[in-house]
Symmetry: C2
Subunit: 238 residues, 2 copies
């Protein structure tokens, strides 16, 4: 492959009048704040160290490499900027307004879920976790993007089983219910929730129990035969 340096789409030369393709990801997890009872939706942001919006917080991402697919680019840029590899990753939307950046950038945005234990806090430089409900002013149009991702998350939790992407392998029904309650921001009836999820066939009961408080709760595993979400005819393409 020949590559002329001046044509490298990853160069930050603003005088070059081309459209560049970036890939960003909105990663959600649940965080239990010290004083709070219910966990909250949180996401990691990266402090920008370069000119457009330098110093402001932005979604993790990077330029699309000429020799990699979109999904691969999302995974790679995510790992490079935050060190995270999500349990669930799905394309969200392509943002391409002319004025969303000083230079012309089309961003293919992904959204992802990560288990709380995988969200290694206080590790990588320039990365910080924020409460999704109270974000600062982000770089570019990233506030809008997060808002849209949150909408998709709340929507999708209603008709698919993505909530499992926020839990460890084994979990109690109360923990699963807590995930739904945090995302939907309303209480669910424990009795009805149990029956719904039991009848869905997505859970496998184990012989183990979570002890420590009151009556022990049975631990469940996720039934891998049932997909997290119906993505239609799109498989692991890209």
């Amino acid at each position: 492959m020949t590559r002329t340096s001046t044509l490298d789409p990853r160069s930050a030369d603003a005088s070059v009048d081309v459209t560049r393709v970036a890939v960003s990801t909105v990663i959600f997890t649940l965080r239990r704040l010290p004083g709070a009872d219910a966990p909250r939706v949180a996401l990691p942001l990266v402090r920008r160290t370069r000119d457009p919006h330098e110093g402001q917080w932005a979604l993790p991402g990077g330029w699309l490499d000429v020799a990699e697919g979109l999904d691969a680019a999302a995974s790679r840029t995510l790992a490079e900027t935050t060190g995270l590899s999500p349990s669930y990753l799905e394309q969200l939307y392509a943002f391409g307004a002319v004025d969303r950046s000083p230079t012309r950038v089309v961003s293919i945005v992904y959204w992802a879920l990560i288990r709380p234990d995988e969200a290694s806090d206080d590790s990588v430089e320039n990365v910080q976790w924020f409460d999704a409900a109270s974000l600062p002013a982000l770089a570019f149009d990233h506030n809008d993007i997060v808002e849209y991702a949150l909408w998709r998350l709340r929507n999708k939790v209603g008709y698919s089983r993505i909530a499992h992407g926020l839990l460890a392998d084994e979990f109690t029904l109360a923990e699963l219910r807590e995930v739904y309650e945090s995302i939907l921001d309303r209480r669910l009836d424990p009795a009805n929730f149990r029956r719904q999820v039991e009848n869905s066939g997505t859970l496998i009961p184990t012989d183990r129990f979570r002890t420590g408080s009151h009556r022990p709760a049975r631990l469940y595993r996720y039934n891998q035969d049932v997909e997290l979400a119906d993505r239609g005819p799109l498989g692991v393409r890209q």
Copy 2:
């Protein structure tokens, strides 16, 4: 704005090692075939006149201009290649597999609906309407893309009111039901369909009736106050 000709992303020079951004659209309409009872889902394809897959049928589209948003590019390329302007247009997915084209192309794909009366057949050169259920082998990964768009169409018709995008301003309940039946490929109970759609509050009854066969059927209009589909916090952005 300065533009170096060799950097023009719209040039078809395959030796230039950059990622170019294209915009394509899957446009659906309903066509009543001569001998058939029920209308069928149909879409227009464009015969390729250039090298990659020359002579094969492909989705209408074109290169993204540096100074236009994604939605605008979809509308423009659609009008340029087919002369159509849809009643409903929504982003579908960004396709960016490395091997989907000889040169690296990321395609932002839209899907659209058009009313049968607007689908001016036999007009534009190199454009032909195909039955969505029996397509030939298309250029690039366009067969997969159409399959995904059909999946989205069938999904979305279940929880939104996009079916109106395939009808004229005034229509009978039987005509609206026929749209649903064609997309979902199954019969719906006329009585239950009537009640469902009446209770949804999306229809405004008029004083006019469709005559010509048997008992006249009341004509309805679409209630503009209710959106065709909930797109979440994304408005008319781009």
